[in-house]
Amino acid sequence: MLFIKAGLQTSVQDFGRTGTMHLGVSHSGAMDKTSLSLANYLVGNQKDNPALEITFIGPKIQFQTSMSIAVCGAQFDLYLNNELVFNNETIDVVQGDVLEFDKLISGARCYLAFSAQINLEKQLGSLSTHITARIGGFNNGQLKDSDQLEFLSTLVVPAKLLDKSLTQSFSGNYLLRCVESVETHHFSEAQKNQFFGSKYKIDQQSNRMGIRLNGNKINDSEKIQITSSGLTQGSIQITPSGLPIISSVDGQTIGGYPRIANIISADLSILGQLKAHDTISFELIDLEYASILFKQKQAWLKSILNS
């Protein structure tokens, strides 16, 4: 597969690596694992099969073998040999076909899955690209113009279509549910009310390491003294400026700023769809409810994947 244009940030991602955080290596993997799972389903793969994560500006790709592909997640104007094709359904391609991601319509990241195995070696247990650390993926980084990605065991699979009721839409306005974090009790009621009562805008300096927010600065947060500890995905740290930063898949493994809350696992995939100027707000729920929401989400996904 030839990348005529690579796009802004196109990288190989699966569900990420685990067991390496004590070495300073965060999990990486797809930021929106829900969309990756759905794309893999449409081409007959296991949900965590490696695929391409495509960000903001998509690539222009020429296929060198016949296979089935699918795109889920962010919606782009998508052309196969200059004809419109769509997200959420299996698309068959043959040698020489050109797939072009044009204008981004909604969301931030989509996943392009293949009915074939990407011919790359795992590093530290995963094909996922850790972009800042240069681990895994294609040549340890994002794809560049003229790169060629090779595939093994390509096949064409029966076509599938996601029911309209199952397709996701990305409004640019989100409520992210949270639970308490290690330092939540260090914040005063006033500070917590300020945070949970505010709408924040996504800063354009956001990436796979962290999502920076603009808006209401939390008063006096620089006075909170903490002990640094393991930083998990979805942790919301309040920086000395009073503005929050949400850590994501390629984030640091140990954090030094106080965490006011953590986004729940069931809502983490939304982080992959945030882009500059989107609006988010936060709601605090209890741990038991977070666990129920996670199980419901798993059951929803399973009902699709097993259909």
């Binding site: 685990t18 067991g19 390496t20 955080m21 004590h22 070495l23 300073g24 290596v25 590093q123 530290l124 850790h130 800042t132 650390a133 240069r134 681990i135 895994g136 639970v179 308490e180 974090s181 290690v182 009790h185 002990t227 640094s228 500890s229 393991g230 998990t232 995905q233 979805g234 942790s235 640091q252 493994t253 140990i254 965490r259 953590n262 986004i263 729940i264 696992s265 741990l287 038991e288 977070a290 666990s291 996670f294």
Partner: protein
């Protein structure tokens, strides 16, 4: 919660807090130091022995904490807190005198790291020396005289959190972090010294650079050191730096 070891040699005091829906963090009240780090690592090993890594793949030690990052959200956190408290208790009780003595006498692994403290590898050496009101020669001597204990790894891949920086070299981080610090840069920030394992932004004063690679994902042991190893820096010339760097490439 406070737990005393069998021989009263070490009391450990900690709290367990929720760290999102899939992790808990043990925060230790004891002072930062070699004893606490040793105990944290013993506790980490016990937990790793007793809980399946498919359920709990990441156990992350830090100066005064241990974070347990599970695969899925925890549906009964009280049960897990009790289980972990029991493991901590049993670990400390099982550290017998003989083990403590043994760990005291066992020889520490010392890792010697070459550092070139010359231009162009040391952009902040002169300014930091003048801030500290010492000569650059004194700064380099003090930095190379230190024995630095590895407390943990983290932040960036292969970054070593080191203890033991001479107090006269403590100096606050830069107000405005530099955008691009070269891989291998050796810096001082606050009470810490350390090496940037990859090119990254950062607020430390850069006093030298090592030609060694701190993290190599292709090696079975990707990092240059592990917790409780000791780091010693030694000065090399820029000519030696270039030689060592080209050796490392081949």
């Amino acid at each position: 919660m406070s737990i005393e070891s069998l021989d009263n040699k070490f009391d450990i005091e900690f709290e367990i807090g929720q760290n999102g829906d899939s992790a808990i963090t043990l925060n230790f009240k004891n002072e930062i130091g070699e004893t606490l780090t040793k105990n944290i690592l013993l506790i980490k090993d016990s937990i790793a022995d007793l809980i399946n890594s498919a359920k709990l793949p990441d156990i992350i030690p830090a100066y005064q904490s241990l974070t347990l990052y599970y695969t899925e959200p925890l549906d009964d956190i009280e049960k897990i807190k009790n289980q972990i408290s029991d493991i901590v208790k049993n670990t400390l009780l099982s550290i017998t005198k003989s083990q403590q003595n043994k760990s005291k006498t066992s020889t520490k692994k010392i890792i010697r790291i070459p550092v070139c403290y010359e231009a162009p590898f040391a952009p902040d050496l002169n300014t930091l020396a003048s801030f500290l009101a010492i000569t650059t020669k004194e700064l380099i001597e003090k930095h190379t005289n230190g024995n630095y204990l590895v407390h943990m790894l983290g932040f960036l891949p292969g970054f070593l959190y080191l203890g033991g920086l001479d107090e006269s070299l403590h100096y606050p981080r830069k107000n405005t972090p530099a955008i691009n610090i070269a891989k291998g840069s050796v810096g001082i920030g606050g009470q810490q010294t350390g090496i940037y394992p990859i090119e990254s932004p950062g607020g430390w004063h850069i006093i030298g650079r090592t030609p060694l690679t701190l993290f190599d994902a292709n090696k079975s042991k990707p990092t240059i050191a592990e917790p409780l190893d000791e780091i010693k820096f030694y000065a090399i010339s820029s000519k030696e730096f270039i030689q060592l760097e080209s050796q490392a490439r081949n």
